[in-house]
Symmetry: C2
C-alpha cells in the first residue's frame, strides 16, 4: 500500500486510522479496518484494488459518509476503505450533448452550482447537498424533485468503473438511445459499492426552467394531507416537488434556523412547487388548484420568491435539525403512490402499539415516506427491543402494500434483515449470482444489501 | 412436450413446423428448430422451460417476428421456439397508479389503442405497430417520440419472468423510486431473450397531452437538414418527435400510399411535432422557430390536423414501402446528437466508395440514423462482398464518433460481428459472466448479441 500512495496524509494503516472512520451514527458495531486510502486519481484506485485482490482484502468505497444505511461502514474488520473525497475535479462541461463530466468525490452542491453556472440544471436534489455524486450513484439517491424529474439513475449517462479484478471499463455512453447489449449502467447504479468503484461520471443536465413557484396547503393532520396527494398527481398539475410533513418535524428546523414556516395552522402541510418556462401556465395551474382544493384545506399560502426560499430551507433542514436536537432513526420506505395515505396512517398507528413517537415527512409525490422514530428517553437496551418490534411491523406493512424497504438511501446493513425477509428469494438469488459472477472473491463491500 | 401442450394447433414438432418459422428476410442461414410451441399461459411457459432444461434444448422467444436483427431466429438447429402470439390478454388498467398490465404477446397498436381508450397515453412509438410488447422490451424499442419521452425501458415498471431454470419472479414494482438491491428490470430490458422469458408486463402510462402540432422544414440536402437539428434541440423547443429523411425515402411511401408529402421542394426534410396541454405555448414555439430558421430552410410548411396525419402516415410507411418496392438492408446506428450531421455525411460518402446507394431516414432528435443500403441489381454474391466492406467502414466510424451499433433494434446476429469487434472486451466479458451466472447451461437464445 505504501508503494501505491506515498503521501502519508492520504494513507492510514492500523492504529493511525483517524477516529472518523471508526464510528457511525447508525451502525453500532463498527469494526477496525486495515487501512484507509484517499486516492487522487484512477491509477491509484486500480493499484489498490489489485493489491486488495492479491492480499484478499475487502474494499469499501466511501464518499462524504452521509449514508444512513451503513453501506460505507466496515463491519467485518480488516477492510481497506477507499475514501474518494480527494477526487473532486469537475473535468468538463459539454454544451453540445449537455454532459457534465466529474470525478466521484465532487459534492452534490458543487455539481448543482457548476451546472447552474453554465446556465443549466441538474435536477436530482437529495436532502444531503454535501453528499458526493459517487455516493448518490451508489444509492440511486432521489430527493425533492423526483416526482417530475426522476432520480440520480436518470441523469447518469456513463460511469468509468474499476471492477473487482482491477480492470477498468466505461459503462454507458453519450448516446440517447441504446439497444447494444445489456444495460450495465443501470445495474451498477444503486449497487452500493458491491460491483465496482466509480472513478469518473458523465451526467446529463437539462435547460434550466425559467420559472418556479411554490405554495403551502395546511391540514388538520397528516392523514388529511395524504388523502389529497393522489388527487393532485392525477389532475395534471405536474408538480416539480410535492412534499408532505407533519408540524412536529418542521418545528425542529424552525428552532434550528430561527425562522417561521409560512403556515402555522393545522398539524400537517403539503409544500408544492411547479416549474416551467411559461409563467402564465404556472399561474393558471395555481388558480385551478386553489379552486379545486380550497374547501378541503385549512389554508392555502402562495409564496413569493423570498418566502419560497425560506419554506424550502425549512423543509431541507428537517433532517439536520432532528440530528442536532434529538436522537432518532430515519427510514425511507416507499409504497405505490395510491398506498401513500394508507402507509402514513399505519405508521401513526404504531405509536401507541410500540410506545415510540413516530413522525413523518416525505416525498409524497413519489410515495417515499421518511418515517422518523424518536428515541426520546429510552435506554439503548430498551430502544433496541422496541425499535426492532416496530420495524418488523412496519416493513411487513410496506411489503404488503407492494412497497420496498428503501426508496433512495439503500439497504446497506440497516435494512438488510427486512429486505431479505420480505423480498422474493428467487430475486435475491439473482442478485447474488450476479454479484458472484462479477466479484467471485467477494471483495467489494460484502455482506451489504444481501 | 405433448404433455405440456396437448392442443395440436399450438405445438409443432419437426417436419410439422410451418414454413413461416423456417426463413427470415435478414438472416439467410436459418436452421430447422426442434419444435414451435404457442403457450397461452405462464404455467405452460414454465413447463416448456423445465422440459428444455431437462433435455438441454435451446429456447428462443418469438413475438410477432418483426425483429430485424435476427434475435428470434434459430441459428443452431434443434431449438424450441416459444411463440408468444397467443398470450394477448390486456389484464388490467389501474387508474390510481397509471399502470397497464398485459401479457407479452399484445401488439403495440393494441396497447396504444387500449390506453387511449382509458384516456391516457403510452408514448413509445416504434415504426412496427404490429410488433409485440414482449419484443419491444427485449430490444428496448425506441421510435419516433424517444426524443421527448424516452424508450420502452422508461415505461416498463415490472416484468414477470421465467428464468432459465424454470423459476418465476417479478422484477420491478409499482414504486416510483427504488434503492433496494440491484436494478434487475433494466438488466432484462434489452437483453434480447438471453436472460429470461417475459410472461407479464406492467407498463407506465401518462396523461394524454391535449394538443399536438407538426411542421415540415425543407432543405437542399440531408447535410443541410442535419446541421439544423442540434440547434433546434438546444433551443428549448422540446420536440415530441424530430424526424429527418431524404426525399428518396419518402417517395417510396408516396408511391405505396398514393399520397403526396406536403413539401416537394429540396431533397431532405425535417418533420417536427410539439405536444402539450397549452395550445398557445405550442403556437408560440412554432412562431419562434419560424423566425429563427426561416432563412436557413427552403420552406416551412405548417400542417393542419388532417395534413399532420398524412405526413406522419407517409413517414411511418417508409419502411413498409421500401420492403414492398425494393431489396435493401436497414441499419439503426446511433451517435451522440452532436455527431449526427457528421454521421449522415459519412454514410453519403460511402455511396461512391462502395458503389452502393445509401439513403437515410431517422430519429434525428436522438441521434439514431436508419441508414438504408439498396441492393438494386447486385447478385447475392456481389452484394455479400460489397455490403460487408461498407458495413466495416460504417461501424468503424459509428464507434469512432462514440456511437453504438444499435439504437433500438438490438444486436441479434446481424450486428454481432461489429458489436464484438468495436466494444471494449472488458464490457463484453461482463455481459458474458452475467449471462453465464443466470443461464449456466446457455439455453436461452445463445450466440445472440455476443
Amino acid at each position: 500500500m505504501n508503494n501505491i500512495i506515498k503521501n502519508s496524509s492520504r494513507l492510514f494503516i492500523g492504529e493511525d486510522i483517524p477516529t472518523e472512520y471508526l464510528s457511525d451514527v447508525y451502525v453500532k458495531d463498527v469494526k477496525r479496518p486495515y487501512a484507509v486510502a484517499l486516492p487522487t486519481k484512477k491509477s491509484e484506485v486500480v493499484e489498490i484494488v489489485k493489491y486488495a485482490n492479491e492480499h484478499n482484502k475487502v474494499i469499501i468505497a466511501r464518499g462524504a459518509s452521509t449514508g444512513v444505511a451503513g453501506s460505507q461502514i466496515p463491519i467485518i474488520g480488516g477492510e481497506i476503505i477507499i475514501d474518494f473525497s480527494k477526487m473532486t475535479k469537475i473535468i468538463n462541461f459539454d454544451h453540445e450533448t449537455l454532459t457534465l463530466t466529474v470525478e466521484p468525490g465532487v459534492l452534490l452542491q458543487d455539481i448543482q452550482k457548476a451546472v447552474e453556472g453554465f446556465g443549466y440544471f441538474y435536477p436530482p436534489d437529495p436532502g444531503s447537498k454535501h453528499s458526493t455524486i459517487g455516493g448518490n450513484i451508489a444509492t440511486n439517491a432521489g430527493g425533492m424533485r423526483a416526482v417530475k424529474y426522476g432520480t440520480t439513475r436518470d441523469y447518469v449517462k456513463a460511469v468509468e468503473v474499476v471492477l473487482p479484478n482491477g480492470e477498468v471499463t466505461i459503462l454507458g455512453s453519450l448516446n440517447v438511445k441504446h439497444s447494444s447489449g445489456y444495460d450495465l449502467t443501470d445495474l451498477f447504479v444503486g449497487s452500493e459499492g458491491t460491483l465496482g468503484l466509480i472513478t469518473e461520471v458523465k451526467l446529463k443536465v437539462i435547460p434550466m426552467p425559467q420559472y418556479s413557484k411554490s405554495l403551502i396547503l395546511a391540514f388538520n393532520d397528516v392523514v388529511e394531507a395524504t388523502d389529497i396527494v393522489l388527487d393532485i398527481l392525477k389532475n395534471g398539475y405536474e408538480p416539480t416537488a410535492l412534499e408532505m410533513f407533519e408540524k412536529d418535524t418542521i418545528e425542529y428546523s424552525e428552532k434550528l434556523l430561527n425562522l417561521k414556516f409560512q403556515s402555522q395552522v393545522g398539524h400537517a402541510y403539503i409544500l408544492l412547487t411547479i416549474d416551467g418556462n411559461d409563467e402564465e401556465a404556472i399561474n393558471n395551474k395555481f388558480k385551478k388548484l386553489e379552486e379545486q382544493y380550497k374547501d378541503q384545506v385549512l389554508e392555502i399560502v402562495f409564496l413569493n420568491d423570498e418566502e419560497e426560499e425560506i419554506a424550502w430551507k425549512l423543509r431541507d433542514h428537517i433532517l439536520y435539525a432532528l440530528m442536532e436536537l434529538s436522537v432518532f432513526e430515519m427510514l425511507d420506505e416507499v409504497v405505490p403512490i395510491n398506498k401513500f395515505g394508507e402507509m402514513i396512517r399505519y405508521t401513526k398507528s404504531l405509536q401507541e402499539k410500540h410506545g415510540i413517537k413516530v413522525f413523518n415527512f416525505g416525498h409524497a409525490g413519489d410515495g417515499n415516506v421518511h418515517t422518523i422514530l424518536m428515541k426520546e428517553n429510552y435506554s439503548d437496551e430498551e430502544w433496541a427491543v422496541k425499535r426492532k418490534a416496530l420495524l418488523n411491523d412496519l416493513y411487513d406493512e410496506v411489503y404488503r402494500l407492494g412497497g420496498l424497504a428503501s426508496a433512495e438511501h439503500g439497504i446497506g446493513v440497516m435494512k438488510k434483515e427486512y429486505f431479505l425477509k420480505l423480498t422474493d428469494p428467487i430475486k435475491v438469488n439473482l442478485m447474488k449470482v450476479i454479484k458472484n459472477a462479477i466479484d467471485p472473491k467477494n471483495l467489494f463491500n460484502p455482506h451489504k444489501i444481501f
